[in-house]
């Protein structure tokens, strides 16, 4: 992978700003408490939280890459998979079996989506497919809740929620965050390898480039889409487990998609590493901003700050951090 | 072969070099275009012909060299500026506005000549309406000229390729340009369609006195229509001169023509 020069520049500039602005704010305003260990604690907490965003963003990237669909239903898939898992578990299935059954359900879901939605809408504009995924969102939200109810459900991974350990004696790090980051990391690396080095992975990339050409060389689009959506379903399940164990499995899980969008524009819709780096930048950026800038302007800025940060990046790289540079031709 | 006397130089391309990153697209290209002539640029695919047109109308910014247009020398300019100066063009891969009708497409070609402001247009009464109708008349003349009356209200996305090429020419003509840049106007056409297109090109040149810069692969067309020909080969300028001279140039034959035509 060839990282372009300006990506590195932007990255360094961001890192610099992320350190400089809190520090300056701490010097300028008495409302802001600035101390290096605390700064690092916030930054690390943000990075680990960012990984959780990446997990959701990843699902978007996979589907967008392979089928050109901006899958609005990713959030609904997170909810649906988590609901199914917990619902099965409550029915008395052991956890491992529930996971397997849920994976099968996600595969079936992928097959159904391919048959009912993607196949009839093949070759339509992005926006139409986007709208179709909104149809899927509504359907899944309704379907999942009809099956499993709207009550909140518990998903306990047994990771303690009390303070974790103190890194270097002063920086508090949370066990749960660490585990989540680890799982996300493993997932990402295996996906990257899968895409780069397998026959299916190559076919996936081919489909991402040109549907029609892929068809013409005999790559069966429907299989590929089923695979991609199923993989996205697995990613959704992992995200659902991690977020569900944090928030409880309930309707609100579907809303975490909104937290993944800035990550997505920052990293580029088509880049797996972008989703990761984007998540880290957004996670750390919004936490640092909330802690060290927000007190100056009233607080609660986390949400729009993430988007503004992404917007600022876009002004320099309209294709996202790792998106491909567009040379316009006529 | 016909003989024509050429006018003054209107456009001068001097020592243009253009690269994208490490890729050198144009390398020290210089030629001029005279008033009222048909000037062709030929060369193999990837020779930089389209890039040359993009440089002329300000879409690409060359790293080196200048362009002098009617005495005004420039290095860089805003893209829409070229249109304001009377340079119109068509595109290699048709760049029509696919969701709009033929009529609307050609009407957009007149956008620089429409003066009513947004509020007047919103009310669509009096001046704005009169202006619309005036421009419509002009556009209808072009439609008649190109013989595309029947497809006036068809969305261009649904038109066959050859028709789209004509509509695109119409859109460029609507601006009443001094210089018309045509990028492969006859690619993918059969002889019959090429003849039609040739006739339009000649008529535009004759009747409106429009200067034409033409990129074309069909050597028959190029040799028959052009007054002078520039040959590019992978960013280098291979030859420049009247068709007959270029045709017999050994370097051109080796790099491009293969067998002599």
């Amino acid at each position: 992978m060839r990282i372009e020069r300006d990506v590195i520049y932007i990255f360094i500039a961001t890192l610099f700003l992320m350190v400089a602005i809190p520090w300056a704010a701490g010097q300028l305003s008495e409302d802001i408490f600035f101390e290096w260990p605390f700064f690092f604690e916030v930054a690390i907490g943000g990075l680990l939280a960012g990984v959780m965003y990446s997990l959701v963003a990843l699902g978007f990237v996979l589907i967008f890459k392979a089928s050109g669909v901006f899958n609005f239903a990713q959030g609904a898939m997170v909810l649906f998979s988590a609901l199914t898992l917990v619902g099965l578990n409550e029915l008395g299935l052991p956890m491992w079996l529930a996971v397997i059954v849920t994976l099968i359900v996600m595969l079936v879901l992928a097959i159904v989506i391919e048959r009912v939605v993607l196949r009839p809408l093949v070759n339509q504009e992005h926006i139409i497919l986007f709208m179709a995924t909104i149809g899927i969102t509504y359907f899944l939200d309704g379907f999942g809740q009809t099956l499993w109810g709207s009550e909140v459900k518990i998903l306990d991974l047994g990771i303690p929620s009390e303070p974790g350990f103190y890194f270097g004696g002063a920086i508090l790090i949370n066990d749960f965050d660490l585990v989540a980051a680890l799982i996300a990391g493993v997932l990402v690396v295996s996906l990257a390898l899968f895409f780069q080095y397998t026959r299916i992975g190559r076919a996936l990339r081919a489909v991402a480039d040109d549907h029609q050409a892929a068809l013409s060389v005999g790559i069966p689009l429907k299989h590929i889409w089923v695979i991609v959506w199923a993989v996205a379903g697995i990613v959704a399940l992992v995200a659902g487990i991690m977020w569900g164990s944090k928030l409880g499995v309930q309707f609100s899980l579907a809303l975490i998609a909104l937290k993944a969008l800035p990550v997505l524009i920052l990293g580029g819709f088509t880049s797996v590493p972008g989703a990761i780096i984007g998540g880290l930048i957004i996670g750390a950026g919004e936490k640092l901003a909330e802690v060290f800038i927000a007190p100056l302007i009233g607080g609660g800025i986390e949400d729009w700050f993430a988007y503004m940060l992404a917007l600022a990046f876009l002004v320099f790289r309209p294709q996202g951090l790792f998106g491909e540079k567009i040379i316009e031709r006529v | 072969m016909h003989e024509r006397t050429l006018g003054d130089v209107v456009l001068e391309v001097r020592n243009i070099s253009l690269s994208f990153g490490a890729m050198r697209v144009l390398n020290d290209i210089s030629f001029d275009v005279r008033q009222g002539e048909i000037r062709s640029i030929i060369g193999p695919n990837g020779a930089g012909k389209s890039s040359m047109l993009n440089v002329i109308n300000g879409f690409y910014h060359p790293q080196e060299g200048t362009i002098t247009y009617r005495g005004e020398t420039r290095h860089q300019m805003k893209v829409h500026k070229a249109a304001e100066q009377g340079i119109a063009r068509t595109f290699q891969n048709i760049a029509l506005f696919k969701g709009m009708t033929t009529l609307d497409n050609i009407m957009t070609g007149r956008n620089l000549k429409i003066k009513s402001n947004m509020l007047l247009q919103a009310i669509y009464w009096g001046k704005a309406q009169k202006e619309e109708i005036e421009h419509r008349k002009k556009v209808e003349e072009i439609i008649d000229f190109l013989e595309i009356q029947a497809i006036r209200k068809t969305p261009v996305g649904r038109l066959p390729y050859g028709m789209q090429k004509r509509v695109e020419l119409g859109r460029a003509l609507a601006a009443e340009p001094d210089i018309l840049l045509l990028d492969e106007p006859m690619a993918g056409m059969n002889v019959e369609e090429k003849e039609d297109m040739s006739r339009f090109v000649l008529d535009i040149n004759d009747e409106f006195g429009t200067t034409i810069i033409l990129i074309e692969h069909d050597m028959g067309v190029v040799m028959d229509l052009s007054d002078r020909v520039v040959v590019l080969d992978y960013g280098l300028q291979l030859a420049d001169g009247p068709p007959d001279e270029v045709r017999s140039n050994q370097a051109v034959i080796d790099a491009y023509l293969g067998v002599s035509h």
């Binding site: 901006f70 939605v117 809408l121 339509q124 504009e125 992005h126 926006i127 139409i128 986007f130 709208m131 909104i134 149809g135 509504y138 359907f139 939200d141 309704g142 379907f143 809740q145 009809t146 709207s150 969008l261 800035p262 997505l264 524009i265 819709f269 009233g298 607080g299 609660g300 800025i301 729009w304 988007y307 503004m308 917007l311 002004v315 309209p318 | 805003k78 893209v79 829409h80 070229a82 249109a83 760049a95 029509l96 506005f97 696919k98 969701g99 709009m100 609307d104 957009t108 956008n111 009513s116 947004m118 247009q121 919103a122 669509y124 704005a128 109708i133 419509r136 008349k137 460029a172 601006a175």
Partner: protein, 359 residues
Amino acid sequence: MIYREAGEFKASYREDMAILPIRQDRWFMWALMAVAFLVIPSIASEYWLGTIMLPFLILALAALGLNVLTGYAGQLSLGTGGFMATGAFAAYKLATAFPELHIIVVILLAGLITAGVGILFGIPSLRIKGFYLAVATLASQFFLIWMFNKFGWFTNYSSSGVISAPPMTAFGDFFVTGPHATPVAKYLFALTLVVFFAMMTKNLVRSNIGREWMAVRDMDIAAEIIGIKMLPTKLKAFAYSSFLCGIAGALWAFVHTGSVEPLAFDVNRSFQILFMIIIGGLGSIMGAFLGSAFIVLLPILLTNAPHLFGLNIPVDIISHIEFMVFGALILFFLIVEPHGLARLWQITKEKLRLWPFPY
């Protein structure tokens, strides 16, 4: 043979360039207007006027605004809610600061203020395109809502951050906001504005500026090369679009609900309006109305449907099924006609024209 334009000849360009060149369409439109202005107010129940027609009209106006931006100028936006909120809060500030202002003036000024805000947030569109732009406009959505929530000035320092519309009249005793406004009055007021702006929009999109917008949408590079300036063209689209959205927001706060908190214009509102124009048809005035009807009416019909058929189903199940059916219907209509209800309408007309011959 009912729908034929055969036998209609147009002798001048003026006739050919009329809004509705086909006679039957004109009749249809007049009939529709008559129904909207005369029949509906006299026969529709309060429930229909106040809870269905009013939101339908106001959201159709917002959808019209977004359709100018997205459908005509090709700039995908998810900031509609934020712009509607801007309109609502601007109208509130104006109406409370200058109580003597007429409601039309208040609403128009609110629209203009929103247009200014729209221009500001439209600037990134010069560099950013497609879904990237859509997500980027979410920045404006979140920022605006946060701003109205955060600064007490916008709400005249009300403890909860909620704004309430003062009672205002369109003329005489004809109240259109406040507790004394009747649903009929509110409906007629909103309808008049919506029809007026729909006409204006139609004029714009068939004029030069409309063609410039579509050119930018269809192929921005070519548009620029033929002399269309990106900056003013895109910003005009943002300005006009947010102007309409602002007016819709002001109407929503003043005429429809009377009191709103910023969350009424949260990101779900933006998505709702976007759904409307996609389902209705991008780049179509009619589409904005059809889409609004679909998104506003369908859930209500679905909720009421089991009741009408005498089925007694628990509300949560109805809600869930409503979600499922709604999602399935979106898919169904997209598959039948990906370019929206307006296109479906168009095709029906075309088929009608060819009828009884298949091609």
